[in-house]
C-alpha cells in the first residue's frame, strides 16, 4: 500500500518508506474496500428473512406477506437515493483525504486528539447509516485506526443529530433526548480508547490490513 501525499501539505515528519510520489495520487488504486457480493452475513439474513416471511405467511396468509412487501418496497425506493449519496460521500472523502494526514490525525498514534476528532466527525456527519458506515469504511481505508473509527461510529449513533432530530425528539421528547445525549457525550471517546487499548493487545502487529475480513 503506497502512501498518498497531499501535494499542498509539507511533510512535517520524515517518511521512511514512501514509494508513491504525490503526482501518482489519482492513478493509484484505493486500498482496502474489499467488495464481497455474497458473504456469510448475507446468507444468514436471507435465511432469517425467509423463515420470518414463512412465519408471517402461516399467521396472516398471502395478504399479510404482500402487505409487508409493498410497504418495504416503498421504503426501499425512498432509501435508495440516500444509499447512493452515502456511497459517493465515502468515495469522495477517501479520495480527497490525504492518507498521510489521516493516519497522523486519526491513526494508532493520534492519541486523545484522534479520538476527539473522530467523535466530532461522527457528531457532525449528516445522514443516517447509509452515510455513517461508508464514510467510516473510507476512513479505515485511508489510515484511521480502529480506535478513532469506533469513536466516530459510536459518536454518530449516540450524539449525532440526524436520528435525534428526525426520530428521538418527536417520539421521546426534547427533554429526554437532550439529557440522554448529555449522558452519552463521554462515551465515544471512552469507547475509542477502550478499542485502541484492546486492539494493540489482540493484534500486536501494527496492522495496515484492517480491511480484510
Amino acid at each position: 500500500m503506497g502512501i498518498t501525499l497531499d501535494p499542498t501539505e509539507p511533510l512535517s515528519e520524515p517518511s521512511p518508506n514512501n514509494p508513491a510520489p504525490a503526482e501518482d495520487a489519482e492513478s493509484e488504486p484505493r486500498p482496502g474496500r474489499v467488495r464481497k457480493p455474497i458473504g456469510w452475513s448475507t446468507i444468514i439474513i436471507a435465511v432469517l428473512v425467509a423463515v420470518s416471511a414463512g412465519l408471517v405467511w402461516r399467521r396472516d396468509g398471502t395478504d399479510g406477506v404482500l402487505e409487508i412487501l409493498t410497504h418495504d418496497l416503498s421504503l426501499f425506493g425512498g432509501i435508495l437515493p440516500r444509499v447512493l449519496a452515502g456511497c459517493l460521500l465515502g468515495a469522495f472523502i477517501s479520495e480527497i483525504l490525504p492518507h498521510e494526514k489521516v493516519s497522523r490525525s486519526l491513526g494508532p498514534k493520534s492519541g486523545l486528539m484522534g479520538l476527539l476528532i473522530g467523535t466530532a466527525f461522527g457528531a457532525i456527519l449528516p445522514g443516517g447509516p447509509f452515510t455513517a458506515y461508508p464514510v467510516a469504511s473510507a476512513l479505515l481505508a485511508v489510515g484511521a485506526d480502529f480506535g478513532a473509527t469506533i469513536a466516530m461510529v459510536v459518536s454518530w449513533t449516540l450524539i449525532g443529530y440526524g436520528r435525534a432530530v428526525a426520530w428521538e425528539i418527536p417520539i421521546m421528547g426534547t427533554d429526554f433526548t437532550l439529557w440522554r445525549i448529555l449522558i452519552s457525550l463521554p462515551l465515544p471517546v471512552l469507547a475509542g480508547a477502550l478499542g485502541r487499548f484492546v486492539y494493540v493487545r489482540i493484534y500486536p502487529q501494527p496492522a495496515a490490513k484492517d480491511d480484510e475480513n
Binding site: 452475513s41 409487508i68 447512493l84 469506533i150 449513533t157 417520539i171 452519552s184 484492517d210 480491511d211
Partner: protein, 166 residues
C-alpha cells in the same frame, strides 16, 4: 417530513461539497471516485434490498410486546442488563426502538433502564448491524466495535443514576 428533507439537503450538499473538492483536484480524481462510489452502490444494493425488504418480516414476528415485557419496572442492575439485551434484540427502525422506550418510560420503567435500552439499541440493534454495518464495514471491525461497546450502555445507566432524571 421536514426533518427528513433537511437531512437530505445536508446529505446531498455534503456530497456536492466533497465532489467539488475532488473535481478541483482534477477530473481523473473526480472520475475515479465517482466510479468507486457507483461501484460500491451497485454492490451494496442487493444486500440493502434484502435487509430493507426483509426487515418488515423480521419485525412482524418479534412483536413489540415481547420487547416491552423485558423492559418492565424491574429496577437495579438486572433491569439494566435486561434492557441492554432488549435493545440489541429490538427489530425494526428508530420508530419502534424509541416508541418502546417511551412506552417503558410511561409504564413505570426506571429512567436508567430506559437510557440503557436506548443506548444499547443505538449501539447494537441487530437489524442495523446486519443490514447496514456489516455490508459497508470490514466484518472484523464490526465485531470488534460491538464487543468493545458492551460496557457503555451500563456506563450510561450509571451516569443516569448519578445525575438523576431529565
Amino acid at each position: 417530513m421536514s426533518a427528513a428533507l433537511l437531512i437530505d439537503i445536508l446529505l446531498w450538499g455534503s456530497v456536492f461539497g466533497v465532489g467539488l473538492i475532488a473535481f478541483r483536484r482534477g477530473p481523473p480524481v473526480f472520475k475515479a471516485s465517482l466510479r468507486e462510489g457507483s461501484m460500491d452502490f451497485i454492490n451494496i444494493v442487493p444486500r440493502i434490498a434484502l435487509g430493507v425488504i426483509g426487515s418488515g418480516y423480521i419485525a412482524a414476528i418479534i412483536p413489540q410486546e415481547v420487547i416491552t415485557g423485558w423492559l418492565g419496572p424491574d429496577s437495579g442492575w438486572l433491569g439494566v442488563a435486561t434492557a441492554v439485551v432488549a435493545g440489541a434484540a429490538t427489530p425494526g427502525g428508530p420508530v419502534i426502538g424509541f416508541s418502546i422506550g417511551t412506552v417503558a418510560l410511561k409504564s413505570g420503567g426506571g429512567v436508567p433502564q430506559v437510557v440503557a435500552y436506548v443506548v444499547a439499541w443505538a449501539l447494537f440493534a441487530f437489524q442495523r448491524v446486519i443490514l447496514w454495518e456489516i455490508p459497508f464495514m470490514p466484518a472484523r471491525f464490526v465485531w470488534f466495535r460491538c464487543v468493545v461497546s458492551v460496557p457503555f450502555p451500563f456506563a450510561a445507566a450509571a451516569i443516569a443514576m448519578v445525575i438523576g432524571k431529565p
